[in-house]
Amino acid sequence: MTKRNLLLLALLLAVACVLPFIVSDYRTFQLTLVLVYATALLGLNILTGYNGQISLGHGAFYALGAYCAAILMDQAGAPYWATVPAAGAVCLVAGFLFGLPALRLEGLYLALATFALGVAMPQLLKYDHLAKWTGGVQGIVIPKPEAPFGLPLNADQWLYFFTLAVTIVMFVLAWNLLRGRIGRALVAIRDQHIAAEAMGINSAIYKSAAFGVSAMYTGVAGALSAIAIQYVAPDSFGIFVSIVFLVGIVVGGLASISGALYGALFIQFVPNIADEISKAAPWAIFGIFMIGFVYLMPTGVAGATRLLLAKRRKSP
């Protein structure tokens, strides 16, 4: 990392820490959601952006993480902070197991298999025999955490900082993972899987592991979202969630860590802007935004930013 990048990062962090004190609680809540989405998108980006496996069902892992957190709090009385790693662990295992059979599927077929997972999830959550834990269609209402140790923060601000801390940890982990040997292996499998295997990369293990890690990220995000929203229900996790995640990573920038943040801002704020422009056809407006972004920035916001910076450097 260059000195300049470090400086930029420090500045970003400083802004992130100051923001909740200058904006309203409602905006703080929205920013918390942006961080949650960023973590989820980062997870999907590891799988789809870096490893080239398309998933149309990440909403299922998001739901799994959210329900893990909610059930642990509701049934076992677990503290909210402990549910986040637990949700991550459950999703890591679930993702890895789903990744094993999915190995045989490539491209569109994998997309269909994950799509099936995504559409099945809301119904599984309604399943009668699980209703004892999941609350069935009624879902689970969970309490809102207050700031601990007498910190002078309100509940929204505390939740923001809690989420920010988890997000930073997850981003640093991903950065570490992706810039090294494992990251290069994942990209090699994406670009030329035969060549990658010839170089001695165990494609099966890497692909399943990528699935597991990706699901873990999304699961952690799901748990954070459950804590922030204080409610989980099958209706919160329709197939649309999965599709929106995919939109997020493409708009933000595939195979880019910062892209997750841009994508999160897009999926959080653009639907609201669309709704303000037209009540009659909010998704048509959303579609126009999406086409605009993809057309103007074919490598996502992250790619466009990179290009812009490179150009400025060339022509001083």
């Binding site: 204080q230 229900a233 209706d235 649309f240």
Partner: protein, 402 residues
């Protein structure tokens, strides 16, 4: 000296206010404006209901054009939540914290309202006349800031059961219900109504998912069970399929159709009017597609309103009558509030309607609420379909007198 005087003066003025004044405001209310917030599914799986939000907006445009309420204009802010609970939380917070509305009105959907139930009560902001028939909204002891409006599902189910026990005590019941909170609430009403007899009388219980293409196989299954009484707890599209399929396979049970799907135009016509003869339902507002209201003064008024203020809205959609009726109820509540537009007073006035009627409600149906009674509409009337229109029969039944 002067400086010290200022806070004292302010304090004195504050203390003096109740004496002089009638005018009291919470955020969202002022001399000129009453701000009301709402969420509706303008997109997503339940977007058919989005028209309710549009009707309400049109209603308050009309009120404003006619001079507002006690001289104040109503600003109705409605956001799309796509029927997704997390989005509802976000939008409700936007309305309360950023737009600073006086209260929320007619937020739609059971899961969406459940998601904001705690938040609204913690904030002490009214969540008024929610658009769902779940039974839990009538709980003033634990949630004094939340109130429903329409008859709740369990009460409606109990009214069918009451009729059944009187007229066909040895019935063998088959139930078809939508596998969600709405379907299960009804089912609970049926079972509670039957009491100990539920086990022996209900011979088949089958469900379907909103995403299913048809309910044909479920109907065949119910017929095979030997049931001679059919509780049809379905939303419009599936209700039409169920009615047609039952008729086509020659199954002729005593058929109860829930109020949610009792519209002639959008359910019975597609199912086939002759196939719908003998259906029994309950009603509380007038069906715009029912010919008996063709020359009704109340419905004429509604039609004139629709044509002038919501011309793109459908004249055969029951939801638009619903929207008009519920907006009229709020209109009355706000009139009663007078110049005391605090959140507390909005709830107090909403809980003190006595026999309030809207022209679009059935004759005999009225709204009565109290500090311990947060269920505005509790009276409904049974009706039987004669091939052309719903023939109401019996007295107007009230669940609080059951």
């Amino acid at each position: 000296m002067k400086r010290r005087f200022v806070p004292v003066a302010v304090l004195a003025a504050l203390l003096a206010m109740p004496v002089y004044g009638q005018k009291k405001y919470d955020p969202g209310a002022s001399d000129r404006e009453i701000k009301i917030g709402n969420t509706n599914p303008y997109s997503g799986p339940a977007s058919a209901y989005g028209t309710i939000g549009k009707t309400i907006a049109a209603y308050f445009n009309m009120v404003n054009e006619q001079g507002g309420i006690n001289g104040r204009k109503v600003t109705f802010i409605s956001y799309d939540d796509g029927y997704s609970p997390p989005k509802t939380v976000e939008m409700a917070r936007k309305l309360v914290e950023q737009d600073q509305v006086l209260f929320l009105f007619q937020t739609l959907g059971t899961p969406s309202n459940t998601a904001i139930h705690k938040y609204m009560n913690m904030r002490k902001v009214p969540q008024l006349h929610v658009a769902t028939g779940a039974t839990k909204w009538n709980d003033p002891k634990n949630f004094k800031w939340t109130m429903g409006w329409q008859p709740n599902y369990q009460d409606e189910a109990k009214i069918y059961v009451q009729y059944l026990l009187k007229n066909k005590p040895n019935a063998k019941i088959g139930v078809l219900y939508q596998n969600d909170d709405y379907g299960k609430d009804y089912l609970k009403g049926i079972k509670d109504g039957l009491g100990a007899k539920a086990k022996s009388m209900i011979v088949a219980e089958v469900s379907y998912e909103v995403a299913d293409p048809t309910v044909d196989s479920q109907i065949v299954q119910l017929q095979a069970s030997g049931a001679d009484t059919f509780f049809n707890i379905t939303t419009p599209k599936f209700a039409a399929q169920a009615i047609r399929k039952a008729y086509d396979i020659g199954w002729k049970p005593l058929h109860f159709l829930n109020n949610v799907s009792s519209q002639v135009g959008s359910v019975l016509k597609p199912a086939g009017l002759e196939k719908s003869i003998g259906l029994i339902t309950t009603q509380y507002i007038k069906d715009p597609t029912d010919r008996q209201w063709a020359n009704d003064a109340g419905m004429k008024k509604w039609e004139a309103f629709m044509k002038k203020y919501y011309p793109e809205g459908s004249l055969i959609d029951n939801s638009n009558v619903y929207g008009f009726t519920v907006a009229s109820t709020l209109h009355q509540v706000l009139k009663q509030c007078g110049n005391n537009l605090t959140r507390e007073n909005v709830m107090r006035q909403a809980a003190s309607l006595k026999g309030f009627k809207v022209d679009t409600m059935l004759p005999g149906v009225s709204i009565t609420t109290g500090p311990q009674d947060y269920a505005p509409i509790q009276s409904v009337q049974l009706a039987k379909f004669n091939g052309k229109e719903w023939e109401r029969f019996g007295k107007v039944l009230s669940s609080d007198k059951m």
